[in-house]
């Protein structure tokens, strides 16, 4: 009794101390953060005047700037990693550094401004609102040329994706090697013991209940890969600095690719009874069958689309929430706003940790469910027949 009371008192004291400390720390750091924010503002709205920037703090621009993809990976100040730009046009492939797309200008207040400039290759390339476009001599978007323009650059998200792939390969191949080394008879150790419960969780809670023990093994590698890829990218997205900071799993292209993979797997593994239930629902009146067929057919597409949007929206919303809370400090233009904003941001960050796991789980769970629906053996055909 006594012991727990002392413990809770300690927790409260420590919490208060940490809060004060974090506030004072943030007060010190504040100018730097403001600089960075201004920088992004300048990047997003290049037409604005330097003097005006002190007054105009565009929250939407700042947040979107953080969520969107970039051609270079900004680290701090004027330091960025210049990622390669790869473009394909009707004149073939072209590779150049993204360094050539921006011009860094040091402002009077010590911050940096990144101005998009035209790079002259086979065509004139310029970043328009963060996206690479072909422009004409006047600096306007050349719509006709852009139709045959493919931007296959290693962007920040692509680089972050590669980082996550690298992490996954290292971690999981290490774990797999441990199984080979120590054999099955000994208890798992280290990374192996960390990964095994997650793998078992995916197998026992996701794959087997939805697909059935018999077929689950066939789809388990696919589900595990999807789960771990989403999970690692979700976690990397929560880290605010390099090598995290990219919003990969909150990018529609990423979720779309995975959703398309699920769509392909589901429809390729679908059996006869699945298609029958879509186009000619058994056990229904023929008019009802005609009515249900288009609805069910739409369902085939809405399932992966819902997967795509759910993951994208959840992760993006989380990032927007955290960024909005941090932006409160700049909206109120006072250090004391951080006393509220930082604890809230930490709190949301905690929830985001949960969401990171939860969304990976839900995506995998629903993918497994769709696969399960497509491969299910219907044993109630006779029951349907009885209705006729």
């Amino acid at each position: 009794m006594n012991c727990s009371r002392i413990k809770s008192l300690l927790v409260v004291c420590f919490g208060l101390f940490a809060l004060l400390f974090s506030t004072s720390l943030l007060a010190n750091e504040n100018p730097v953060v403001t600089d960075a924010a201004k920088q992004e503002v300048s990047e997003g709205a290049p037409k604005e005047h330097a003097a005006k920037k002190e007054v105009d703090f565009n929250v939407t621009e700042t947040i979107l700037e953080h969520i969107k993809d970039e051609h270079s990976w900004h680290l701090w100040g004027n330091k960025s990693i210049h990622l390669p730009v790869i473009v394909k046009t009707n004149k073939g492939y072209e590779v150049f550094s993204s360094e050539k797309l921006v011009e860094v200008e040091r402002l009077e207040n010590g911050t940096y401004e990144f101005k998009p400039i035209i790079y002259k290759g086979n065509f004139d390339y310029k970043l328009i609102e963060g996206k690479l476009k072909i422009v004409d001599a006047n600096g306007n978007v050349d719509k006709a040329a852009n139709k045959q323009f493919w931007d296959l650059s290693i962007t920040k998200n692509v680089a972050s994706l590669f980082v996550s792939v690298f992490i996954l390969l290292v971690v999981l191949l290490t774990a797999a090697a441990a199984y080979k080394k120590t054999g099955v008879k000994s208890a798992p150790k280290g990374i192996q013991s960390f990964m095994e419960p997650i793998i078992l969780f995916v197998r026992d809670e996701v794959a087997i209940p939805n697909i059935g023990a018999k077929k689950a093994g066939k789809y388990l590698p696919f589900l595990l890969t999807i789960f771990f890829l989403i999970l690692v990218n979700n976690f990397l997205g929560l880290i605010p600095f390099f090598p995290g900071g990219a919003n990969v799993s909150g990018n529609i292209a990423f979720t779309m690719t995975l959703a398309v993979c699920v769509f392909v797997v589901v429809n390729l593994s679908a059996n006869k009874s699945y298609w029958e239930h879509i186009f000619w629902m058994p056990g229904m009146h023929w008019s009802m069958k005609l009515f249900l067929a288009p609805i069910e057919l739409i369902g085939v597409f809405t399932k992966p689309i819902s997967l795509m949007i759910r993951l994208f929206a959840n992760i993006t919303a989380g990032h927007i929430l955290v960024l909005s809370l941090i932006c409160l400090i700049f909206i109120f233009k006072t250090v004391f706003a951080s006393a509220i904003a930082v604890p809230f941001a930490v709190f949301i960050g905690m929830i985001e940790l949960l969401v990171a796991f939860l969304q990976a789980f839900i995506f995998t769970m629903l993918a497994a469910m769709y696969i399960g629906m497509a491969t299910e053996e219907h044993h109630h055909e006779k029951a349907h027949g009885a209705h006729h």
Binding site: I154, P221, T225, F254
Partner: protein, 169 residues
Amino acid sequence: MLLEINPLVLPDIGLVFWNTIAFFVLLIVLGKFAWKPIIKAINERESGIEEALLKADKMKAEITAMQNENEALLAKAREERAALIKEAKEASEKMVAEAKDKAKSEYDRILADAQVAINQQKNAALTEVKNQVGTLVVEVAEKVLRKELSNKADQESYIKQLAEGVKLN
């Protein structure tokens, strides 16, 4: 386009392209070198555990059966022992009784023999005593008579007396 689409929901072809490659690389490499051995190992371990548990159950059942058998054997042995003891007791009692009977009959016989012998001895002794007494009496009578009849006058008187008694018929 009539509607201006938010760039957030507009997928970049570049990321789609690289993501597809990354995903398939992951799927193939992990599928072959990570998931396969890991899942195989986990399944092996699980089946091993299951087997071990089944074996343990079987062993347990075997041990219980053995214990039951042992107990049954013990009980049987105990019963046998009790029966043996009982039998032995009975036998010994019987033997004792028999021995007693035999001893008694022997005693009786010896007693009877002894009595017979005693009687015989007694009779013999009595006969001898009788004979002895008879002899002694005769001797005494002879001596008395001799003494009595040492003078002639007594002899004649005695003969006369005897003759008187023997009256010729």
